[in-house]
């Protein structure tokens, strides 16, 4: 499988529309009467919508889909599914059902579609959910993803913007998959680097979310298309600031190397344009700046929790085999929203 088709034109989360462009359009949409059961919706730029059904139960609703970022259809299906499912974990919820979203050229070999869907189906099963249907249309290019429904207890759900001064920031996956996939697209990625990136992208955030359960998580989001700094900016939400230590970031070394060779995406530059004004770099090498803006497909969870609880959560995450690290601290709002120093 995998065929002679040139699959990827720069897919995955590098295909997202820029944040600024999106905001511009979204701001103008009509809102309708406010529904008090909508716990998290449009107004906060969160990972998923959360709608209360009862005091103990709320529905988590989210969707993600994109063009391929790898050549192998089965792997693409796995990654796209893991990416879509991730938002439920970022809310602290569990996956219940998923619907396929498919765009596929009529002239392409149907076996390719079969492999994509097989990858997605297996990932949904791994997440403990059920694939209940989907919708496909003919299109000039392949796109795939899921619409996902999950459950969460409203008392325990994680918003993405309620971090508090004094919190420690933990990231559970390495950064740099966008750059590695990009380098791969132009034939300049080391085979091992690509395999490691794929392993990272196909890993569900389910384990990371489960590790968080015993702790007082104040805020949580998953790092995807807007890059680490973009999602961190959403977490700060204009009411807190933070300090990031670049040398502590879990990154793929190859991503730093390829960034230094300027194998960068348009989406990465859009992220820099949008989030850059909120960031001050101090002594950080160019390649690391790029990795921090790099759009991640199916990235890790970014967690804010009290500093005194961080070492134990970190221990649990690492014991579970995740490349997690404490990367910074939240403080009260100041002139600079995100300060990134090398050390």
């Amino acid at each position: 499988m995998g065929g002679p088709i040139v699959f990827c034109k720069g897919g995955g989360c590098t295909a997202k529309l820029g944040a600024g462009v999106l905001n511009h359009v979204l701001e103008r949409l009509p809102k309708g009467p406010a529904d008090p059961d909508l716990l998290i919706g449009f107004d906060s730029r969160d990972d998923a919508a959360v709608y209360r059904v009862s005091d103990e139960l709320a529905i988590v609703q989210t969707l993600d889909f994109f063009p391929p970022m790898v050549d192998d259809p089965y792997t693409f299906g796995q990654i796209a599914a893991a990416n879509a499912l991730s938002d439920v974990y970022a809310m602290g919820g569990e996956v219940k059902t998923a619907l396929n979203i498919v765009c596929f050229p009529e002239t392409m070999d149907l076996n390719v579609l079969g492999e994509i869907l097989r990858g997605g189906a297996e990932k949904v099963i791994e997440a403990g959910g059920t694939l209940v249907g989907g919708h496909s249309i003919a299109d000039s290019d392949v796109k795939y993803g899921l619409s996902v429904t999950g459950f969460v207890n409203p008392a325990n759900m994680y918003a993405n913007n309620r971090g508090q001064p004094g919190d420690c920031l933990i990231l559970t996956k390495r950064l740099g998959v966008g750059i590695i996939c990009t380098a791969n697209r132009v034939g300049e990625a080391d085979k091992e680097a690509m395999e490691a990136a794929i392993a990272s992208m196909t890993t569900l955030n389910r384990t990371a979310a489960a590790c968080c359960k015993p702790y007082t998580v104040h805020a949580c989001t998953d790092v995807t298309g807007f890059g680490f700094l973009g999602h961190l900016h959403e977490m700060m939400d204009g009411h807190t600031s933070c300090h990031i230590h670049a040398s502590r970031m879990p990154v793929f070394s190859e991503a730093l190397t390829y960034a230094n060779a300027f194998l960068l995406t348009a989406a990465g530059q859009r992220n820099r344009n949008h989030t850059g004004p909120f960031v001050r770099f101090d002594g950080v090498p160019f390649a690391m700046e790029e990795v921090l803006f790099d759009p991640q497909t199916s990235g890790g969870l970014l967690i804010a929790l009290p500093a005194e609880e961080a070492p134990r959560l970190l221990h649990d995450l690492c014991a579970a085999g995740l490349p997690a690290a404490a990367v910074g601290e939240i403080m009260a709002a100041s002139g600079t929203e995100i300060l990134v120093t090398e050390l």
Binding site: E192, S247, M249, S253, N260, F262, L264, Q269, P285, A325
Partner: protein, 205 residues
């Protein structure tokens, strides 16, 4: 002057084509690249600024931008052909040995002797039957992976035989050597700690 047509190309292809044209210059000169969007202009400009090339950009018409890069004498000399990005790995299953090069000299006492000893060490390391999995270079050791290092060939030879060579990015930045890295890749403290703690054995001359 070399002209590059990158209309219709998605990033990073405009950069890749431009880099190829710059190499073809074989020294100082001008490369003019055509792209169809602002973001590509920004990515090309970023590269030029990092490399120290002169760069100007102008919009010729809707969806047609021209980026002109001037490679000067100094920049041409610094332009590293460090695109040896594919590193085959040594066979796994064996004990994982990581060599840590924390200084440009080996041992304390006389620095000139220390430099000679380090050169000897890296040479002899490459002659062993079993090569290390990884060589980490930081602080004073970073210079050994850069242009002008007497150990460059020894390191490059080991890299060609599957040894992973990683130099600390912070240190390269501190010493102003980022553009002069000639072997292996760049890494950060997180990975340095990870490599050291996961090694079966670390060797530090």
């Amino acid at each position: 002057m070399i002209q590059v047509n990158a209309i219709g190309d998605t990033c990073p292809i405009p950069v890749v084509k431009t880099k190829q044209a710059i190499q073809a210059l074989g020294g100082a000169g001008v490369v003019q690249t055509l792209v169809d969007n602002e973001i590509a202009v920004q990515n090309l400009t970023k590269m030029a600024q990092q490399k120290g090339y002169g760069v100007t950009a102008q919009k010729l018409e809707e969806r047609k931008f021209q980026v002109t890069m001037t490679v000067g004498e100094n920049a041409a000399n610094l332009h590293a052909e460090q695109e040896t990005l594919c590193q085959p790995r040594p066979a796994s299953g064996a004990e994982k040995t990581v060599v840590v090069i924390a200084a440009a000299t080996m041992g304390a006492g006389d620095d000139a002797l220390g430099k000679t000893l380090m050169k000897g060490f890296l040479y002899a390391l490459g002659q062993q039957d079993r090569l290390p999995e990884t060589i980490l270079l930081y602080n004073g050791g970073a210079v050994l992976a850069c242009e002008g290092s007497v150990s460059l060939e020894d390191l490059q030879s080991m890299e060609a035989r599957g040894v992973e060579i990683l130099t600390c990015g912070t240190c390269l930045n501190f010493y102003g050597l980022t553009e002069k890295l000639k072997v292996g890749g760049i890494t950060n403290m997180y990975t340095i700690v990870e490599k050291m703690t996961q090694a079966d054995r670390t060797i530090q001359p």
